[in-house]
Amino acid sequence: MTMDMSRYLGLFLTEASEHLEGLGRDLVQLEREGAPAVVDSMFRHAHSVKGMASSMGFESIAVVAHRVEDLVDAIRQDPAKLERSLVDLLLSATDVMLAQVRAVSESKPPDDASSLLGQLAEKVSAVTGRTPGATRVINQAKASPPAAPAPVTAAARVSPQAVEAPPPPASEPAAEARVAAVVPPSEEGAAKTAKRWAVRLRIAPTCQTPGVRAFLVHKRLTGLGTLHGLQPPLEDLKAGRIPEGNIQVELETAEGEEAIRKALRNVAEVELVSLKPAVVAPPPAPVPAASGLVPAEAPRASNSADATARTVRVRTELLDYFLDTVGELLLATARLRELGKVLPENSRPPIEEGVYRLHTLVKDLHDKVMSARMTPLSLITDRLPRAARDIARRREREVDLVITGAEIELDRAILDELADPLLHLLRNCIDHGLESPEDRVAAGKGARGRVLVSVRRARDRVVVEMEDDGRGMNAAKLKTAAVARGALSAEAAARMTDREAFMLACLPGVSTAQDVSEISGRGVGMDAVKRVVENVGGTLEIESELGRGTRFTLRLPLTVAVVHLLLVAVGDEVFGLPIAKVVGAMEADSERLDRSREMPLLPHGQGLLPVYGLDELTGVQAPPRKGVRPFVVMEGDAGRVALAVDGLVGQEEAVLKPLSRPLDLLPGLSGVTILGSGRPVFILDVPRLLSA
């Protein structure tokens, strides 16, 4: 890298990944609908990536982007050239570029893409009938701003019409305008009015007297006009304090480009890195990613001017921090109020008034923080079409994926957890649910299967449904599989309703898929889906009808789960059990319980429940207890269980906090919460405690 690019790396990663994800989405949409408008958007995405990559000096990415651009252009010329294999190739090119972008942003060398480049080149010649020329985009990188159409050699462009066909400026994403000025100098004409130029200079690292050189440059430039925003400041320049030799300044002058270049030409050991017309409006320097805030860009779809710069990007860590801090503020306010109560009567009112005011403010802040954390589901559903296509392609299925209500918002923390479960459900629908086109036709259905993802608000919950019109689930087979695995007795299976039986698919290791594909059917996954949904405070339901299809329903809380807990004591420790899973509590004399193969059994209703000591399950030491003690009856994965505890502490509504490293490595914990007393309490995932 010629310049100190590291500070732009974060921005590059975000923007390039967004363009690439956009490209992937467009490709899937194009293949499905053949809408020509999408082609323009694809071209823009590829083009932007190429520009950014080459200005950052990542030639290998730029070259791939360039080829992609060639191919998209070919489709633009002749939509008839669009075919599956071409889309496949473009999608894999997109993936490769994404991987490369991630690699370079971690300062690793990008993966070798030579085989992909070969394929791309082959495809270019196949669709255009020409040999793609050697692409050398890097040469222009230093001088050309990312947004400007990267100049290319005539041979590199495959179609003559495209040579000067950059995307129309009106639809140019706003982001690019920020990175650099977009207007090519030539178009600016020779107007002799004062204009601003962004000048970047670099003093050779070998230079012995950088201060002198820098001062010289400064003098030359002031001779031309006024300087603004000199970086580093003049004192530092004179003292030779120039980080990596980079100097930036905006020059306001009536002189033209050539005059500026000329003035700087014969200063030895100083290189003119770039000279561009500056954007007059707010300085375009991107905020370093480390500060946490990155200027946002106008939504790409609507490019209306009023939509620009109204939003900012915030790192999710920062949002989490806000929530933690606001929660702590609420707690601190409550403590203040308690303290106020012991004051003498006459001095109380002003304190109480102050605390009341504080409480209102903090509460308001809390609401705002919560709403800032709300994120539309599209953040995760946008990835589904591409995934659907890939899965369907691999399994030779035909599928239409319809997504509705993706604009509905959920707390960011829940959304982050949901990405994998939704993907897994989708796999399940396409892989297990949908039949092959032949089977579908034979069953009197259309050859193309349909997966519908619908999101809606239902009071304080968000309901996400995913349904397919495939073969449906076979309750009998699920029961057989569960019995075979020993997870269920034959009698219990016989009593089970179909609806209960479908939930057996969520037991680890139970799957009715005849073949175990790499995609799903290994019986892992559905249990994870259920676990994640329950851990964020939601529920999962499965409905299915043989031959008609299956529907998964996720009911989720809007915001970070407030869970209702039953607090139990084990020795000195307190643990939380989700009340949703608690059937009841009872007392019994543990020494007088009947045993079967050493497992104590607690009579409950008509049957006997296996008894587990919560001290043993959690590994917490508790003094041995004799006589009558409390037991908590809970739903386990394979029926009810009784947990022996030392005491029932009470019920509490608690805000669930996700487990941070390294706690998330432990089995059997579904989260942690902080009680009103300030004491952290773990929430137990009893089924996992039992199985792990």
Binding site: E317, L617, S660, L666, F682
Partner: protein
């Protein structure tokens, strides 16, 4: 480089200043972590965040034994909330020359240095981090 110097019983240790978020007084009691490895003292509430506190002794492969706990050194490890239970914190000192540590090489130890005539074991934050993760993963597989 400036290091935070602290003691575990009589031995002195150093961690780069940049790797330390803050030093706090441990709570009266820690919340025990179910199924956690023995080296984990427990978790504590630090201004609304749940911080896992680990005993340094066992991370370094020293024989078990309770650490007389005087301070918790919180590590600056991104989203991880991790603290080390130590006997006391001495201060911040510049540590220049680090030579190889004697004995078995462990990833958590970068080397030893001499500071005002006494030996200081210089720790490696990355190594500590992976030692903790290793501890937890091993406990899970047991």
């Amino acid at each position: 480089m400036r290091h935070v110097i602290f003691r575990v019983e009589k031995e002195r240790y150093g961690l780069p200043l940049a790797a330390v978020k803050e030093v706090v007084v441990p709570p009266e009691r820690f919340t025990r972590v179910p199924r956690a490895p023995a080296a984990v003292t427990g978790v504590m509430n630090l201004r609304g965040r749940v911080v896992t506190v680990v005993e340094l002794r066992q991370l370094l492969g020293l024989p078990d034994g309770p650490t007389p706990s005087g301070r918790v050194v919180l590590l600056e490890r991104g989203r991880r909330d991790l603290g080390l239970l130590v006997t006391d914190v001495d201060g911040i000192e510049a540590v220049e020359r680090v030579s190889a540590a004697p004995g078995k090489a462990v990833p958590a130890v970068r080397g030893v240095a001499r500071l005002k005539g006494v030996a200081v074991t210089v720790l490696d934050p990355e190594g500590l981090d992976s030692a903790v993760v290793g501890l937890f993963t091993a406990a899970q597989q047991k």
